[in-house]
Symmetry: C2
Subunit: 135 residues, 2 copies
């Protein structure tokens, strides 16, 4: 939270980037990274460069339109690189940039912790629902 | 990703929890944790127990309804504990559970990395927009 805002930001020049402030552009990037599809797309690309349809299969449930929007937002933020190969038929690969890799690693740490903790989460849900007579 | 599904899950009993599978309950918990307000709420509670209105001020831009829904989802997942004090007027505190703390720490690692990386993100956006003649 130490870096001052310096370029094209909506926050004041004196303020550090702060996701808690609604006008801070870091909140938008956090949403790209952790949004419904952004996190899974970064996670999938952490496994290696992928073509669009490969990503669509890996990110189970995403529509073509949403994956396309997600990739554009991540590319604009400098986290994903789009590489069009001059082949016939043309081939487009998506891969993480170095910063995208660092973001994906931190996100995957969180994801793996949640996956490992799911038995505890499911037990908590059951207790919560039973206390409210939902069962 | 090692723990087998064991309780009330929609995935098969033989499969590990996997956020990439759309039916896996871990994907829902990931969304509670990283959703538009869930992440900021966990981050705010990492600073200490808070009352509802304190949280509402800290999570700049959240509505009363959305904060209430967010807290219920996190409480049901066992990440937030709701403590009603028997005072007059009644007072309700929200605080992280031990697992909620561990989740919040991993999430804050990601958030701080993004905040520190924002100059790079803003530069990438400028390059992207200029290449597309948007300026």
């Amino acid at each position: 939270m130490e870096t001052p805002v310096s370029t094209g930001a909506t926050a004041s020049d004196d303020l550090p980037f702060d996701v808690f402030a609604r006008a801070c552009p870091s909140r938008e990037t956090l949403e790209h990274v952790t949004g419904r599809w952004g996190g899974l797309t970064l996670g999938a690309l952490h496994e290696g460069p992928r073509r669009f349809n490969e990503l669509r299969r890996r990110v189970d449930g995403v529509s073509e339109k949403m994956l396309s929007q997600t990739l554009h937002a991540l590319e604009r933020d400098g986290l994903v690189h789009r590489e069009a190969q001059a082949t016939n038929p043309p081939r487009v690969d998506y891969e993480l940039t170095p910063m995208g890799h660092q973001v994906a690693e931190r996100l995957l740490t969180l994801i793996h912790f949640l996956e490992d903790g799911m038995p505890q989460v499911l037990a908590a849900r059951q207790t919560y629902d039973e206390a409210r007579g939902a069962l």
